[in-house]
């Protein structure tokens, strides 16, 4: 890592403050940039020319069906896989270069840690490999962050899959990376664990850390991500903020006699609708603005390819 990086990171942290979802603004070069990236495995084309950028402090969700190329894209970003064509840079350096690896944290989808190592030993190993000088304080902080403070001395083989996944997230955050790549980080977690991870992701955004989240859990992506990229058959087919991708689905009003739907109405029409219903002598008990879910948008995009 270059000398100016810690300084740049501090600047980003100061500028980021307590950034919230949807308030992202790029303040430096993209943390991750993929340009016309193609990847072939023999005759199989896993990626067919993908362009993608993740800005500093941006939380981007990567969605797509099985075999769409999401994991390949994530692996190219961290240097595990070499692109056949195109360029990929992480934190201003060629993806996979020593400098890029030093600035990136990664949790693989199918990872495994040595069962004999305790949580603390594993993090200590990764501190050495990541050249982090955080010491015991960093390890304790990260284990606390992922809810494993009580499991410091527990061997990995005595942990549940969910605990191992949380340990994996802590491992990915060793050395304060500027870019974090998470491939299905909540697949083994229960609802409480997923909520914990959402909190961690929001915390990372608040600290100006860029996150690429590869997940099948659309509700999770919708809740936490600034932007969503949907890929299918190796191509990015749709991208945008979750709110922009989901479509208005009308207005529902709860009346004494049941629920009445106004399918073409939107939020702006709510006062007028309510006034009209009251004028007609109806008693209004509740009003909902209905939006399509990210799942609807996802299925529409994927099935349209």
């Amino acid at each position: 890592m270059t000398d100016e990086l810690p300084e740049q990171r501090n600047r980003l942290l100061l500028e980021a403050g307590h950034r919230r979802k949807g308030t992202f603004r790029a303040v430096a070069d993209p943390a991750l940039s993929l340009s016309a990236v193609r990847k072939r495995y023999g005759r199989t084309e896993a990626l067919a020319g993908v362009d993608l950028e993740v800005g500093e402090g941006e939380l981007v969700g990567l969605l797509g069906p099985n075999g769409a190329g999401k994991s390949t894209l994530t692996k190219i970003a961290c240097g595990l896989v070499r692109p056949t064509e195109g360029t990929a840079t992480a934190c201003g350096h060629r993806a996979g270069s020593e400098q890029a690896r030093a600035a990136t944290g990664y949790l693989a989808e199918l990872f495994r840690f040595p069962g004999w190592a305790t949580a603390d030993e594993l993090l200590e190993l990764h501190q050495r490999l990541a050249r982090s000088d955080g010491g015991a304080a960093e390890r304790a902080e990260l284990l606390e962050l992922v809810g494993l403070a009580e499991a410091t001395a527990r061997p990995v083989e005595a942990m549940s899959k969910g605990m191992q996944q949380r340990l994996g997230i802590a491992q990915a955050l060793i050395g304060s990376p500027r870019l974090v790549l998470l491939d299905e980080p909540t697949s083994a977690l229960d609802p409480a664990g997923r909520r914990l991870v959402r909190g961690i992701l929001e915390g990372l955004r608040g600290r100006g850390i860029a996150v690429l989240l590869n997940s099948h859990l659309l509700s999770e992506v919708e809740l936490v991500c600034d932007r969503v990229v949907i890929i299918a058959r190796g191509r990015a087919i749709t991208e945008g903020a979750p709110e922009a991708l989901t479509q208005a689905g009308g207005v529902e009003v709860d009346l004494e006699g049941g629920t009445r739907r106004f399918p073409d109405a939107g939020r702006d029409e709510v006062p007028e609708i309510v006034a009209r219903l009251v004028a007609e002598g109806e008693r209004v008990y509740g009003v909902r603005v209905v939006r399509g879910t990210l799942e609807d948008a996802y299925l529409e995009a994927v099935e349209g390819t």
Partner: protein, 284 residues
């Protein structure tokens, strides 16, 4: 890079300790040495019956044969250890998801491979030399026969397992765990078979067998190093006893060319470079 090497090598050694690999190896080696000691005692006791053969030094014949046996077993055990410490180092660990969290760190793939090589080589060299030394001491203390060049023998055995470590690591870059284990043991067996063919060729004065053994020895230098060590064990034994030793299962070994050691070093470097090239170009 040195700190990274120490970290990875220490990690590999700690894994071997925690997984009780080294404990199992130590227990089984002690069992082997106990069995070997019983065999040594019995063999020297029974060797009195050979005293009727004129000019035959029965102590030397029995001692050299037993130490030759110990060399063979030591090389085999060292090879087993070398293979099990390295057979899944790259492809096997990648398939299990163990490698990726480490490879994405700044240390780099070359450092990782060198560290795995250094750790496995250190363990195996120390192991074979300790076992061989123990066998020599047991033989000497029991039958009062000591080889003339034990340090050369130990050096040859140590170098032979280092070559096996390098071959196994190369195999691990392209083969899955089971396939690599099978491949390395078959290569090891092929090398031993070629060495035996060479000894038969020497006894029968067959140039063809000799040539086959020679080519195999250069292709698989752990065999040449083993044969060279075996030769160092018996080269000072002459006369009727020398003939008797050379006709035994651990006699008739060929003296290596002066080029063997530089060739073996170059071989390990080339094998390592190829393994590194494949590893660096591999998608994980």
């Amino acid at each position: 890079m040195t700190a990274d090497l120490r970290t990875i090598a220490g990690y590999a050694l700690r894994e071997a300790l925690r997984r009780r690999v080294l404990t199992v190896v130590v227990v089984l080696t002690v069992a082997f040495l106990a069995l070997f000691w019983l065999g040594v005692r019995e063999a020297f006791d029974e060797s009195q019956s050979l005293s009727a053969v004129p000019d035959l030094e029965e102590q030397t014949l029995v001692g050299a044969t037993l130490v030759g046996l110990a060399m063979f077993v030591t090389l085999f055990l060292g090879t087993v250890l070398a293979v099990f410490l390295t057979l899944s180092a790259v492809r096997g660990d990648a398939e299990r998801g163990l490698l990726q969290p480490i490879v994405v760190r700044p240390i780099g793939r070359t450092t990782l491979l060198v560290a795995r090589f250094a750790a496995a080589s250190a363990v195996c060299v120390v192991y074979v030399d300790l076992v061989f030394a123990a066998a020599v001491v047991l033989t000497g203390a029991t039958g009062d026969w000591w080889p003339s060049n034990p340090e050369l023998v130990g050096l040859g055995l140590g170098a032979a397992v280092v070559v096996v470590v390098a071959i196994s690591l190369l195999g691990s870059t392209v083969l899955s765990t089971t396939a690599n284990g099978i491949a390395v043991f078959m290569v090891f067996g092929a090398g031993l078979a070629a060495g035996l063919l060479g000894q038969v060729g020497e006894a029968l004065s067959s140039d063809t067998l000799h040539d086959i053994a020679s080519i195999a020895s250069w292709a698989l230098p752990f065999e040449a190093l083993y044969q060279s060590a075996l030769h160092a064990l018996t080269e000072d034994i002459s006369g009727v006893t020398g003939v008797a030793v050379s006709l035994g299962p651990f006699g008739g070994a060929q003296d290596a060319s002066a080029l063997l050691w530089p060739y073996a070093i170059a071989y390990v470097l080339v094998v390592g470079a190829v393994a590194d090239l494949i590893f660096r170009r591999s998608d994980l």
